[in-house]
Symmetry: C2
Subunit: 350 residues, 2 copies
């Protein structure tokens, strides 16, 4: 089984208070690149020409990136990984398939993703060519729940939007989206039949790539499991708007399902929900913050958990995730000698 992690950036993440995926905008730019390395290698890997040390992404309160949980699931379940570079703004040492996508612009500009059509086409060709019978698709893009809200509004879909923050800054997100729709001369629902138009106006390059992947993979008979929360719901809405009729799974975490009315949203989009509980409260601090409603999802975590469930190793994940953190010497990870302070977070969320 293959997890495809679509990794990219949007300048929307720079809007004040909108994203917890990094302590400051500088660190936030590295979050998806480091998430990809965590999944590929189990640790951040310094990039030639880049900074020597990049912290493991954690939320401002110290909740480690969902990529650590996904990595633990990968180590125990043994699934394959492919990272798509859909607009990374900082180099990554992870092996990537390059979609030649530029980082996304701030959605408050008139055009957020000028190359959305090209990205979607390239990802569609790639998805169609994959020989796999089934793939799991996840994402990592700071600011991604705001662009997801933008796309849902442009499509005219009233669906819930979660957050990696304990308190969802929904008013800020809505303001950014309304500003973006205005700047794009688009009314809510105005792109109901034009998913690429919605992406160009108020989306991000990762969503464009996920849409292409879904279209291409399903067209060639590959089953698609969407592994994530809010952003994958938006991707599913884009796919339905693009005429994709095949059934799709949505694999997510208990934490995300506790935050939003997931089953209703899934039913609206004809998705089969799969919810997995990694029981991270059993992993002690700082991983118990997941159970307190932080982070919730991202970096393919829900998809990785579904694969762990199929391999019957979910019970091992609290200890396995702790192992991953211990090796990294993260705060609270049980390696006091090598503790370092993280600064980002995996994802603006679920």
């Amino acid at each position: 089984m293959r997890l495809i992690l679509v990794a990219g950036t949007t300048r929307t993440a720079r809007i004040d208070g909108i994203s917890a995926a990094g302590a400051d905008p500088t660190l936030r730019v590295h979050t998806p690149s480091v998430d990809a390395e965590l999944l590929a290698y189990g640790a951040p890997v310094p990039v030639p020409g880049g900074p020597d040390e990049r912290p493991v992404p954690v939320s401002p309160t110290g909740c480690p990136t969902p990529a650590a949980v996904a990595r633990a699931a990968r180590e125990r379940a043994g699934f394959d990984l492919t990272v798509l570079d859909a607009g990374l703004a900082a180099p990554t040492a992870a092996p990537t398939v390059d979609l030649d996508a530029a980082p996304g612009r701030d959605i408050r500009e008139s055009v957020a993703v000028p190359d959305a059509g090209d990205i979607e086409r390239r990802a569609r060709a790639y998805g169609r060519a994959l020989p796999d019978g089934e793939v799991v698709v996840g994402e990592t893009v700071p600011g991604g729940t705001t662009t997801a809200l933008g796309v849902l509004r442009a499509l005219g879909r009233d669906l819930p939007v979660s957050s990696s923050l304990p308190t969802n800054p929904l008013a800020r997100k809505r303001r950014a989206v309304e500003t973006g729709l205005d700047a794009s001369d688009l009314a809510p629902g105005g792109a109901a039949d034009d998913p690429v138009g919605a992406l160009e106006a108020v989306g991000d390059p990762v969503l464009a790539a996920v849409l292409g992947l879904i279209r291409g993979a399903t067209a060639s008979g590959t089953r698609v499991v969407l592994g994530g929360g809010t952003q994958l719901l938006a991707a599913a809405a884009l796919a339905r708007a693009a005429g994709v009729e095949r059934s799709l799974d949505l694999a997510t975490t208990r934490y995300l399902a506790a935050d939003v009315p997931l089953r209703e949203a899934a039913a609206t989009l004809d998705l089969d929900p799969v919810v997995t509980d990694p029981a991270l409260e059993r992993a002690g601090a700082p991983l118990d913050r997941y159970a307190a409603g932080e982070a919730k999802e991202g970096a393919g975590m829900g998809g990785a958990l579904a694969l762990a469930a199929r391999a019957d190793v979910v019970d091992e994940l609290p200890a396995a995730t702790r192992d991953v953190l211990d090796r990294l010497g993260e705060p609270g990870g049980g390696n006091p000698g090598g503790a370092e302070t993280g600064g980002g977070e995996a994802d603006d969320g679920p």
Copy 2:
């Protein structure tokens, strides 16, 4: 466990009669890109903007690429894969770590790899940063045994050079190397203390990257298994010339070991040889050609076999490799309805 496949090209492969790694120069350019896809996905994956169909590399007589055997080992043993792009000349759909290396020039020119020093440094930094306790390093570069011979001559090492061809075109290789040394104003042994100089003069970008990997990985305590034949012997000679003193394993196939005095060569370079027999004569045509002395090695095959041996699945490889070919509909692969004619071969060899 991780197999690192270093993939690239050299124009040396265009010398008439020197490489079997492709039926003609046009196909040969695609061989390492397709080998990487085979290992990553189990099938060639069309690249956006590239040709729709790229044949699975086979030798002129129809012996399938060693990448198919390595893929079978990967499917059964479940090891991780990272592809380094060290001078690919055709796009690949495989995820890659890009070393920003240009394709190598013909070694008969005055300079074969102008960026050898940069490639070696980047690969060294990457190898040093890897968190793995042990890695297996393989290569795919058509024309690679000729550049390996060039490097060995420049270093003053009298070591055996194998071939993927049933009859080794050794006289042609030697002529190309002598022309290259002359053009570079280098006497045999003239670069004994200058491995990067040897690479610049008569090497290829893949060897430069493998040298860097060995140096970086061993410097940070990662054990290195060289998975291959002739080219990995040349890489080991480069590493010894660069002052690497750590013990290194050389994992190769019975077919390579039957062609050259491997144990003597390994002893000269202080390598621990590991020879694995995948018993492909039991796999029927066309895979039985391996037992007849074709192909022999390449695309990390020897390293993949060593990992299969550790996982105790070598017995499964004749059937597993046949499965890989069946899925591809290769000639002789048991899928008469979907047969297609391949045109290249994985590697100029062992």
